[in-house]
């Protein structure tokens, strides 16, 4: 008898499940229509749609300030840069995207090559951003600079032993270097920068010698390379400065970050490798004037200051102070000549690293 009772209860549950399923499908349909209707209605209010490769935490506060000052509402989608580009391409002329925020120049170049961008003629942008940090045709604009120096453990490496990135391919560094996988765009840009100045053949030889000097197969992120150096796995780590700065502010990682020092390579020639984060307005942008307004806000002193303080990136606008931590890393000459070539050379850099056995 009991089993019949159990069966009845179950039957009720299953009815609920089925009912909920049907309800779910209906809700889904209605909400899909509702969402799009909402989208059509709110199009009149002043707003701007941002597709951002910079993660929410490092952009939302700035966008909120923009909204507070201008009254323009900002809608945000964050994601990986190439995924955002794919989405924009698929959405085609219906794409709601106004502004694309990228964390590296290669993706801005790619967006330009795919004809996804439109030029912005703004005296504010062109006067504030030096020419080497923006597209000649004003299709994209750099906002901050990110540097990738050599980090060394002072007890094991004397700074006078260091000179250039090329020098790290020397056999005396065998088993002493930590660097992350060549999957990462920072390394791809760095090698693209080398191809731009040394040529492909010389860079290929450099890459295979350099890969022989790794202390371990590449793994982990930039912070992990610094930690590995601090714990004795290697004597030299390559990482972006804002990771080092963030570690120095993190109670957990402070000690490891304190164990390495910054060396700026290639100061006698082209300068240290840098990349830039930037912004562009998309071709089918429905809110072009608000988009331009947002771009101009991004180069205002307070916005540039915010980037410098919160994420320890170097401002592109002259006269804006960097954070105290960044200042402690010293000033340096940056390799800005190759910036516009990084995007075009990225694929070549990748294939070259494949052949060099740089995992």
């Amino acid at each position: 008898m009991e089993s019949i009772g159990g069966g009845l209860a179950l039957r009720k549950l299953s009815v609920n499940v089925l009912g909920l399923g049907v309800l779910g499908v209906i809700t889904l349909g209605v909400s899909a229509i509702g969402f799009s209707a909402l989208g059509l209605n709110t199009a009149q209010a002043a707003e701007v749609n941002v597709y951002s490769a910079r993660q929410q935490e490092l952009i939302k506060p700035l966008l909120d300030k923009f909204t507070a000052e201008t009254g323009v509402k900002v809608n945000l989608i964050t994601g990986k840069p190439d995924e955002l580009l794919t989405r924009i391409r698929q959405e085609g002329r219906n794409s709601p995207a106004d502004v694309l925020l990228s964390t590296d120049v290669g993706r801005l170049y790619r967006a330009k090559e795919l004809s996804l961008l439109q030029p912005i003629e703004s005296a504010q942008l062109t006067s504030k951003i030096p020419a080497q940090y923006r597209d000649p045709a004003n299709l994209w604009f750099g906002l901050t600079m990110r540097a990738r120096p050599i980090l060394y453990v002072p007890s094991k490496v004397q700074p006078q032993e260091l000179s250039t990135l090329e020098n790290l391919a020397d056999a005396k560094w065998r088993g002493r270097i930590c660097i992350r996988s060549s999957d990462n765009v920072y390394n791809q840009s760095m090698v693209a920068g080398l191809i731009a100045s040394l040529g492909a053949d010389a860079t290929a030889i450099w890459a295979s010698d350099f890969a022989k000097n790794f202390a371990q197969p590449p793994k982990g992120g930039d912070r992990d390379q610094i930690k590995a150096a601090a714990s004795g796995v290697c004597d030299i780590a390559i990482a972006n400065t804002y990771y080092l700065a963030a570690m120095l502010e993190d109670p957990k990682d402070k000690a490891a970050a304190g164990a390495v020092k910054v060396f700026w390579p290639n100061q006698q020639d082209r300068g240290a490798h840098v990349n830039i984060s930037g912004a562009a307005v998309l071709k089918h942008a429905p809110n072009k004037s608000q988009a331009q307004q947002l771009m101009e806000y991004m180069v205002s002193p307070q916005a540039q200051q915010w980037y410098a303080e919160v994420n320890h990136e170097y401002p592109v606008v002259a006269g804006v102070e960097t954070s105290a931590l960044l200042q402690s890393f010293g000033t340096f000459k940056a390799d800005t000549a190759s910036l516009d070539k990084l995007g075009a050379l990225n694929q070549q850099a990748l294939m070259l690293m494949d052949k060099a056995g740089w995992k």
Binding site: L10, R11, Q56, D183, K219, A246
Partner: protein
């Protein structure tokens, strides 16, 4: 006749819809870029394929071992802590695998607390001693096994606890000592292998763990080609290769058990009472279950909690209410839709309408072996095409632009989940359906039941348990789903998984711990509740 045709149409339309994104992926092969393929073949392709196979096989093996043995223990024995371990053993599933990988790397790396302590105690330097490398292919296999074994565990527990006590009595009376190997395991085989197939597909599609551990596999290759070379087509082609490997594996399994059928005609009748363990056996059983739970869940969760508490302000920076509402709402809605669709498909399989249909339905489950991002592109393409056509048409005839109606909505997102997770819902349902002998259907039909009554009065009560398990699995999977959510979500719509990923990708592990642990908390109550419902219904006949 009309009736039958209309029904078949439903069973044809649903798999075709589900196969559409995969068709987009395979269609990339229409325009192959041989130059890139030549480069890949000469340099890294062999390593990618070999590592992917090793990863899937290794993870499948260990998950089967862990999940199968734990399921047998929990289903058949009573031991200290069994009642709470029964649901707690599912917990590792609630944490994104890559987060577990991050926390283990943080603990076991050269810079981690363990090795640092070791060096301080002994005075050794880094190269003076041997320590297992967690960031390696084997490390990835271990981590993935520890978080994925619950798939096998849940399916097998259901199967073991439903086995007829008469089998054991028969084995005993024959003085057979091989009851477990000769009776229990073969009977649970569809469930065990079904769970293992899920684990292997998940391992094939994993990106976060292997990328962080620096293990080159097909998925890391896909993103390398896409992001590094800007070549979406080549990335899709690599995904097709990955999917083909998964299809091959499952085909092999199906071929292997081609003639075998395991039916339990007494299903739904009396259940095997759990055997009380005593003495050292009791302790050993508890210790085994607890240690797996610790490795898969407690250790990484506690490590994350401790790291996040070093800066307690991290806990007050999140917009918890919105993130929770988005995550849980999306997971609930998707779980209901996906399990409903899976029921339809599995029922279609049982009815054996035609071989083509069977193949189509089977094929629609392979979305699980393709990385979520690639599925997302497969969804994006048809949706945006429909939008573009509607927009053009509306402009031509009415002079208005309709813009994006489907793309960038929750509907697109849920559809992507449907394609990706239908296999997760189908496995437990199919395993359960397979245990219902056709003779039971025939008996019901001969007693005058029509098809619907058969479904309603005979199958439904028998499927209640597996339905709860399917809901549980899909709910937890959607809760932690990242790649498709990231690519397809609407404006200003974030989930806990998205926030976890963003912070982790910026290498802020302590900050990422907060949303990661919230995912676990959000999954905890539904998990306990659904697990109780599943266990309750498998013992309903008591």
């Amino acid at each position: 006749m009309m009736m039958k045709k209309r029904q078949s149409l439903l069973w044809l339309a649903l798999p075709l819809l589900l196969l559409l994104p995969m068709a987009v992926v395979f269609a990339s092969w229409l325009t192959p870029d041989w130059q890139i393929w030549q480069h890949l073949a000469q340099t890294v392709l062999g390593t990618y394929v070999l590592n992917s196979l090793l990863l899937a096989a290794g993870t499948g093996f260990f998950s089967l071992l862990l999940g199968g043995s734990l399921a047998f223990l929990v289903a058949r024995y009573q031991f200290s802590g069994r009642n709470w371990l029964s649901w707690a053993l599912v917990l590792p599933l609630a944490m994104p695998a890559y987060i577990v990988a991050y926390s283990y790397a943080g603990l076991l790396d050269a810079a981690g607390p363990l090795q640092t302590q070791l060096r301080e105690l002994t005075g050794w330097r880094y190269q003076d001693y041997w320590f297992p490398q967690i960031r390696s292919l084997f490390g990835a296999i271990l981590i993935l096994s520890l978080v994925l074994y619950p798939y096998v565990y849940l399916l097998a527990r259901q199967a073991f606890s439903q086995q007829n006590p008469a089998w054991r009595e028969a084995a005993r009376s024959l003085a057979s000592t091989g009851y477990v190997w000769k009776v229990a395991l073969p009977l649970a085989r569809p469930a065990l292998l079904g769970g293992t197939a899920l684990v292997m597909m998940e391992a094939f599609a994993d990106y976060g763990t292997v990328a962080y551990f620096g293990v080159p596999v097909l998925t890391t290759g896909i993103f390398r080609v896409w992001f590094g070379m800007g070549d979406v087509a080549a990335a899709a082609q690599l995904s097709a290769v990955l999917c083909s490997l998964a299809i091959l594996l499952v085909a092999l399994e199906l071929w292997n058990r081609r003639q075998l059928r395991y039916f339990d005609k007494s299903a739904g009748q009396r259940r095997l009472p759990r055997q009380q363990l005593a003495g050292w056996r009791n302790i050993a059983a508890s210790a085994f279950a607890l240690s797996i739970l610790s490795l898969g869940f407690l250790v990484p969760a506690v490590a994350l909690l401790v790291w996040s508490l070093e800066d307690p302000a991290l806990w007050f920076q999140l917009d918890f209410a919105a993130l929770l509402a988005n995550s849980v709402g999306l997971a609930t809605l998707s779980a209901l839709i996906i399990v409903a669709a899976a029921l339809v498909l599995v029922y279609g399989l049982r009815r054996k309408i035609s071989t083509t249909l069977q193949l189509l339905i089977r094929g629609s489950g392979f979305g699980y072996a393709i990385p979520g991002t690639v599925i997302a592109i497969g969804v994006l393409w048809p949706f945006s095409q429909v939008d573009a056509q509607l927009d053009l048409w509306a402009e031509q005839f009415f002079g208005i632009r309709t813009g994006l109606i489907l793309t960038g909505t929750i509907a697109a997102l849920v559809f992507a989940y449907l394609v990706r997770f239908i296999a997760v819902a189908m496995q437990p349902l199919e395993a359960a359906f397979n245990q219902i002998p056709p003779s039971m259907d025939q008996a019901a039909r001969s007693l005058g039941c029509n098809r619907w009554q058969l479904l309603w009065r005979v199958h439904r009560p028998l499927l209640a348990g597996p339905v709860w398990i399917a809901l549980l699995l899909v709910f937890v999977d959607v809760l932690k789903e990242l790649p498709a959510t990231l690519l397809l979500r609407p404006f200003n719509f974030d989930t806990l998984a998205v926030r976890t990923f963003e912070l982790a990708s910026d290498e802020q592990l302590a900050a990422a711990a907060v949303p990661a642990l919230t995912i676990v908390l959000a999954g905890l109550l539904p998990l306990i509740w659904l697990n109780r419902a599943a266990e309750g219904s498998s013992h309903a006949g008591h």
